[in-house]
Amino acid sequence: MPRPEQKLIKLTIDGREIEAVEGTMLVDAAKQGDVEIPYFCYERRLGQPVGACRMCLVEIEGIPKLQTSCSTGVRDGMVVHTQTERVHEAQNAIVEFLLVNHPLDCPVCDKGGECPLQDISFGWGLGRTRVVEPKRHFQKPLALSPLIAIDRERCILCYRCVRFSQEIAEDWQLIFADRGSHTFVSTHDGHPYVAPFSGNIVELCPVGALTSQPYRFRARPWDIEGAGGVCTLCPAQCNVEFTVRDEKVVRVLIREHDGVDDGWLCDKGRFAYQAIHVDERITRPLVRDGGQLRPVSWERAFETAAEIARHQGRTAALVGGGASNEEAFLLQRLLREGLYSHDIDSRPGGALPLELARTLAAPALQASVPDLEFAHTVLVLGTEPLDEIPILDLRIRKGVRRNGVKLAIASPRPSALDPNAAVSLRYAPDGEAAFLSALEAALGHASSGSGDDVASLAELLRSGGEDVVIVYGESLAPAALESLVRIARLLGLEGRDGAGLLGVPASANGRGVREAGALPNAGPGYAELGAPRGRDAAAIAAAAAGGELSALYLLEVDPVRELPDRAAWEAALHHAGLVIAHASVLTDGLRDHATVIFPAESHAEKEGTVVHPDGRLQRLRAAIAHPGEVRAGWSVIAELARRCGHDLGVLTSSMAFRQLVAAVPFYAGITLEQIGGRGVRWPERPEAAALPAGGGSAQTPGAAAGTVQPAAAGQTNGHLRLGTYRSIWAAPEVEISPALHYTIAEQLVELSPADARRLEVGDGDEVLVGSGGTRLRGRAAVRTGVPEGTAFLATGIAQASANHLTEPLVEVRRA
């Protein structure tokens, strides 16, 4: 669906003439016109109003009875009164009714001070009670989930949380149980409400019925300060507001930004802030001394790290996680200018050819996040939004539900979005190139009419409408990305507004660090390098293990944990003479091999910029002071470079940003002030033309000749193909957050029911997964959507991660 046209109409509220977009609800129009109408149940983000609380009654001329302004659309020439005697009487009565059973335990209630019910009772209520009868009582408080406490006495039955669960997150878990005054919010059978977006209902609740367990009794609104920031725990980079008390982050709230997060937040972003203030966090520099990592002074850490100057030409760097653009930029300067090495990478799946990388970053092919909502068709390709970029999962659901977006999913693993998809097909875990060339071929033919999945997907993309947005994962192989670009051109997405590609990087600021130059074959701004190209991640591992590289610089990444082929990285780190890391959590690879660890900043402490997958530069602001002896990442790199005899000329983070802007041509002219709190999408600026064109990738119809059956079972000799997935919870920050302990991902081996029967494995059984002499222990999860012949293993987890396995086929048996 293209974006609806916005028609302005005029209406009168309380004698004021107000302009509003046709179709908006009266409450929203009134708010724009500075008329306040009280309400509880209405929330624009929740979509259709329900009119449950009756607080927003107004008098409309020509309609005899009072109307709920939250469910009445504005019309031209409407005359509305909100201050008449009838309206006041109705508002007083509604407040009185709502308070009949409300316990009024405001002094102990966590919502006290920021409670709409308090505010509205004060502003629109009668100010005294006539109720002498006893109130309804429930047991309180109950744990609705490990994260949320529910106090059913306080509930005013506004339906917000239930609507969120049913219409936004679509997990269908929350319901209203019982009837009449005994109604309460619950799950169907009383099981905990565990869902990746459950924390949003705490913020939606207009009373203190749903409160956050980690924030329970932590602070009052007058004890705290809000500090705007950006969450960099995943590529979605949602805008957040950190609640700070006594220099500690105690809560994370949304900071609604239509272009990024649409006002929702996942539970990782909402609760993993706890990792900032736990004892497990590294807050002092560590140096390996006699085989043990010991806390040392910064001076000593710098002295040890400055040894890197002796490894000129034999140093490699990896950039990952939440590294900011500035840190990546300064590190690649140190490496390229100071240490004469181009061995820097940030892409776990191997470097792309420069031409292809430029094409994929080209403004003409970029889709923005809101495009997902208004496209005709959205294709999710080789990624699971719920795990990799959770907030887009909600955005896609919204588009499908409200705007009739047709959704297609093509991935090896069953997706949470499958029930919403018009077409959903599976290809083999490493079969994306074959699948995409088949799709390309099917798109090339006029409607072939054959009934297979690829043909119906091609039909949907071709005839579903011109605006197609393709969300693709970074795990796609270069060959697959080549054909993806050709498919995008076949569909005419290039240069089309509201259509294009949206790449989901594997790390939070993947796009930003690559634009800043953390690539082996490109400098800042995808600039062409001279003759010597650097090694990519896999080649760095091989070279380090082989002794060609002697020093490794790990900027917020532990390759042993994060990257494929754990054994190779363990060998690489073991053989490297000097391993310098910026880290906040002591993960396996660092504990065993790091020589120097600089404490890394959290996203609430960092100053810098990051780039959203759709090209939006966003600014990180320091919400709290650095705990312990943590220092800013950019300053550590700059100081280290100075000690290596190569002064980068950076004294503040804004100087680093200015250097970055000067080095990246398509950022030209962007200032920190412009980025501000809302960000700047560089592909929308005229300077974006400065991105070197990525050469037309040649049409290779020959490659697409053979029709490839996706997910076809090959000769596997009873073994299963290995597919991997990374759960939303598979992050070190989650592991050390006390509130999220219940989510810690274990090795769940997903099997199809047919394979499970054949292997005599039941759901929940312990299984051993092996290939090439490596054995992993995990628990079987039998899922109907998993294609036969494939087993999916979790990667990125602390124990028994799938990156132990390197062979494409694995053997699964009962433990």
């Binding site: 335990d105 405001c106 002094p107 102990v108 006290g112 001070g113 309180k140 408080p141 329970r216 009794f217 932590r218 602070a219 009052r220 007058w222 004890d223």
Partner: protein, 177 residues
């Protein structure tokens, strides 16, 4: 147009000049009238209060050092840690950190209690707003006014200090005194 400095000079009003009789009266007559009060007090005897052996009694509503209260029957603290006193405090001298009661550790009657309750008495202006704000009458202004100390940090009173009875009671004024 330039500024004329003499434009806003106001004529100063002086009293009319006095004659010799009036002058003499002012020197002796008024002085004797004042001394009459002084000598009359001499007859009454000394009014010195022998502080610190003896203390000035205070009025019942005197706003001295705060007190926190417990329920007399259960011994639980009345304070639930709602922080309203901190919100009301114009000097920003109250700090409350709340925590949750558990069956093993029940401190107050409600769900929450004040794990930390501190009043910085070197900042307090003894306005009594905290007492007015308290929904549970858990904090009241006491009568204790002897608050000097050797270090500023000793003037930060903790919950235990505020809950404890003052060592020495301040005498109250009896009605009609």
């Amino acid at each position: 147009m330039g500024y004329d400095p003499s434009a806003d000079v106001i004529e100063v009003m002086r009293h009319p000049p006095r004659g010799p009789v009036a002058g003499t009266y002012r020197i002796f007559g008024e002085t004797l009238r004042g001394l009459k009060t002084t000598f009359a007090r001499v007859v009454e005897g000394p009014h010195t209060i022998q502080y610190p052996e003896e203390k000035t009694p205070v009025y019942p509503r005197f706003r001295g050092r705060h007190k926190l209260h417990r329920f007399e029957d259960t011994g639980l603290e009345k304070c639930v840690g709602c922080s309203l006193c901190a919100a009301a405090c114009p000097a920003d001298c109250i700090r409350v950190v709340a925590a949750e009661n558990t069956p093993e550790n029940r401190v107050s009657a409600g769900e929450r209690y004040a794990a930390v309750y501190e009043i910085n008495l070197s900042r307090c202006i003894f306005c009594g707003y905290c007492e007015v704000a308290c929904p549970f009458d858990a904090i009241t202004m006491g009568h204790d006014y002897e608050l000097s100390d050797y270090t500023r940090s000793d003037l930060i009173f903790t919950k235990e200090m505020l809950l404890a009875e003052p060592i020495e009671r301040t005498p109250l004024r009896v009605p009609g005194e």
